[in-house]
Symmetry: C2
Subunit: 168 residues, 2 copies
């Protein structure tokens, strides 16, 4: 999606900081790590919409037999043309299948992504509930948090949930 021009090349355009001495320790390896963190957050943002949509589509299909753009729009809190554009991107990325004026269906890839997201969402919600939060807060915060939870952190959440489930 973004520019792929910064991958395997030798000339690293990012470290022109050889002359930075006094201000911030030579070569600042901390800055490097930090930059990667921000990069990861930006990457996560790019997949958020896809994840939210496939998760919702899966749920709609299960609950009512089909996923109509108008229902997606209502639940996402956006207008229909917004849904149309986003669905076009999802289709381009091979996550959904559709025909004009018809409902939306998940491809194998879309289904797989939806499964992962649903599981992760469930863990995050249960974890937050375990912290003593009310269901609504847990659900809403999970919506934002779930896309930024690394595998390690998710595992830690799961551990905590399991631990509180059998407190003995």
């Amino acid at each position: 999606m973004e520019q792929e021009s910064r991958d395997g090349s030798s000339d690293d355009p990012q470290d022109r900081d050889a002359q930075r001495d006094v201000a911030c320790e030579p070569e600042s390896p901390a800055a490097q790590t930090r930059a990667e963190g921000f990069q990861a957050v930006r990457d996560a943002h790019r997949s958020e919409i896809a994840e939210d949509y496939v998760e919702l589509i899966q749920e709609l299909i299960e609950r009512s037999g089909e996923a109509r753009p108008v229902d997606i729009a209502e639940r996402m809190g956006v207008r229909q043309p917004t849904v149309a554009k986003n669905l076009a991107r999802l289709q381009r990325d091979g996550l959904i299948r559709r025909e004009r004026y018809r409902s939306v269906f998940l491809t194998g890839a879309g289904q797989a992504l939806a499964d992962v997201c649903r599981e992760r969402h469930k863990i995050v919600v249960e974890f937050l509930l375990g912290l003593g939060l009310d269901r609504e807060t847990a659900e809403q915060d999970a919506e934002g948090i779930e896309h930024h939870v690394s595998d390690r952190t998710l595992a830690a959440f799961e551990r905590a949930v399991k631990a509180s489930e059998r407190p003995g």
Copy 2:
């Protein structure tokens, strides 16, 4: 093919609305709440950049006496023109002060925002550390998570941190 998979009846257009009514009563309140959640996430995204920048600017000023665009760019992992654009928006929004070809300074509002963000960041990191995560994972995940933590959830995190600090 999938069109038939909704419930077995061929292409009866009537059961579409029938199912809809059953599955999610008109004007469904659940969908409403959900939509608000997604809206909140979108709102959070819009403030993320501002928060990350003021936090970083505050830190740079404290550690080296000034915040130069080139250093911001390095730590954010983006190019200088990107920083320039974002700083222009920050200035427009009254969070920073600057003159051409000079370093950046926080306004009162920017300082206040930075303080809040720093505190919140600290709580989230400590909370994640308390879960048994290594520092690097905690820092990186906190970067993504912190912008999506409601006051209630932050309070719950803080409680958990305090509880584990004095384990009894």
